[in-house]
């Protein structure tokens, strides 16, 4: 066991240049042929925020002055989780050609696609800083806590991604199923409505089982200067440990068979 861990670590060090190259490749190729380049990363959430603010803030008469910040924070986190898990899931098939021809530690593919999306996500957070500044969000000491949901979100996406990546090798149609599941996750993550509305109807339990909501909630607490909700922290940590544990275990058990099915 100890030898395996040491061997794993040595191999990881050996291939960390590859990891960096794969992350870089994702970023470079995503924006290579677009005129606005990386600027899209900022423009897209900004536009979505404006639309959602008009629809839910204007038409449905929701929210206050900081409503755009509320929406944007939820939306950014959800978008990361969405693209990262989907990217992981597809990474196996996308790199099947390479996998069949050269030896590379296979977890590099899902790991690099999560990290690539994470970099994009971190860049897109600058929109939030901008909008928060304009609308007068006062940073408090609680802002430091933002690192916790940011980290847990990454782990959660990686764990979920590893599970999906493994399963998607064997079941192609998982992509559609996961798309539907993501929709469900989006609507139960209180991105553009206040959770109280759902809690008041007696359906508050959906927030107690949705780890993505837990991350979003902690993230917002940090921005709006409130202490973290410890029950949310507990939910997020347990989910992270669980998904990463299951994800790595599944992947490790099945990785030698991937080539035979891709």
């Amino acid at each position: 066991m100890k030898n395996e861990v040491v061997g794993f670590w040595k191999n990881f060090i050996k291939y960390q240049f590859l990891l960096r190259e794969l992350v870089k490749k994702g970023i470079v190729l995503k924006y290579r042929r677009s005129y606005l380049g990386l600027f899209w990363t900022l423009l897209e959430p900004l536009c979505t925020m404006i639309v959602l603010t008009i629809v839910f803030g204007g038409f449905f008469g929701q929210g206050d002055r900081l409503y755009p910040v509320y929406i944007l924070s939820g939306r950014l986190l959800y978008t990361f989780f969405n693209t990262a898990t989907k990217g992981c899931m597809r990474s196996m098939r996308k790199n099947a050609g390479m996998m069949k021809k050269v030896y590379v530690p296979k977890y590099m593919y899902p790991l690099s696609s999560v990290l690539f999306q994470y970099v994009i996500f971190l860049i897109s957070l600058s929109v939030l800083v901008l909008i928060g500044g304009i609308l007068g969000v006062r940073p408090s000491i609680y802002l430091m806590q933002i690192l916790i949901p940011l980290f847990l979100l990454l782990v959660l996406a990686f764990g979920t991604g590893m599970i999906l990546a493994t399963l998607a090798v064997f079941f192609r149609d998982l992509e559609y199923l996961w798309g539907i599941a993501l929709m469900l996750i989006m609507y139960t993550s209180a991105i553009f409505y206040q959770p109280e509305k759902v809690i008041n109807t007696g359906n508050g339990w959906v927030f107690k089982i949705n780890p993505l909501y837990a991350c979003i909630d902690m993230f917002r607490s940090a921005i709006f200067g409130e202490p973290l909700d410890l029950s949310m922290l507990k939910l997020a940590v347990i989910s992270c440990v669980l998904t990463v544990g299951v994800g790595i275990y599944l992947f490790y058990k099945k990785e030698d068979q991937f080539i035979l099915y891709l």
């Binding site: 490749k25 390479m98 050269v102 064997f170 079941f171």
Partner: protein, 245 residues
């Protein structure tokens, strides 16, 4: 494994499952399970393969198409994990299989040198140091900043070859790659491979050209339906090979 042994292949078997109906979606799987219809045909691409190579040995692997030659090389290179048995290698392996398999077509030549270098497990520093040598050897200096998708297949394999041969390998795995590029490059690449061999690399060489095997190898094995049917000196194996054809 003893010090002078470079490669040890022991009782290696590689089983593929060919499903009679391809099941690759959840829907098919569930329906198949319900009807109990998923049947797999088992197929041993390799079976009971055992041999040892000492340092500096040069093994020719002969066999008709589908005999398991490429599968064997992939198992040794670590791309495939054998269903049974073990493979032990000593030292650095340079698999010159499917050159340029790690290329991204949208990427330029320069970017691909770094990417493919990383795929082969090189460090960034190493690639930086060898960058000019790679470019010069490939002879693609004036095309190095255009996307690889605009390269001809010959240019692609030249670049792949130049990158893959930067290491000084202990074990060199060759799958008919002596025939890379045009005549000039062909000579250059063969020269390079011979240099590597002269430095004492252990070689595994798959080829259909008896003449090349004779020229390069000192040992040979003959594969048929995934099994070794003859092994020993090149001339012995060659004799068996002629009768089997």
């Amino acid at each position: 494994m003893e010090e002078h042994i470079a490669l040890e292949v022991k009782d290696v078997g590689m089983k593929f499952r060919l499903s009679t109906e391809k099941v690759d979606s959840l829907k098919d799987y569930v329906i198949g399970r319900l009807k109990k219809q998923i049947q797999f045909q088992e197929f041993w691409a390799l079976k009971d393969i055992s041999f040892q190579l000492e340092k500096g040995d040069r093994l020719g692997i002969l066999g008709l198409n589908g005999a398991g030659k490429s599968t064997l090389l992939k198992v040794i290179a670590g791309v495939l994990k054998p269903t049974e048995g073990t493979v032990h290698t000593r030292g650095k392996i340079a698999p010159l299989l499917e050159l340029g398999a790690g290329f991204d077509k949208q990427y330029t030549g320069t970017e691909n040198i770094y990417l493919y270098g990383a795929v082969l497990g090189y460090s960034k520093k190493f690639v930086q140091e060898r960058f000019d040598e790679i470019v010069d050897f490939s002879g693609l200096r004036s095309f190095i900043d255009i996307p690889v998708k605009n390269y001809s297949s010959g240019m692609r394999s030249r670049l792949g070859f130049a990158i893959a041969t930067q290491v000084d390998p202990d074990i060199l795995i060759l799958d008919e790659v002596l025939a890379v590029g045009d005549k000039d490059f062909h000579e250059k690449s063969e020269q390079k491979i011979l240099e590597m061999m002269d430095r004492g690399a252990t070689v595994l060489f798959v080829s259909h050209s008896m003449e090349q095997v004779e020229r390069i190898c000192n040992k040979a094995i003959l594969l048929e339906n995934g099994r070794i049917v003859a092994s020993g000196s090149v001339s012995e194996v060659q004799r068996v090979y002629q009768t089997r054809k």
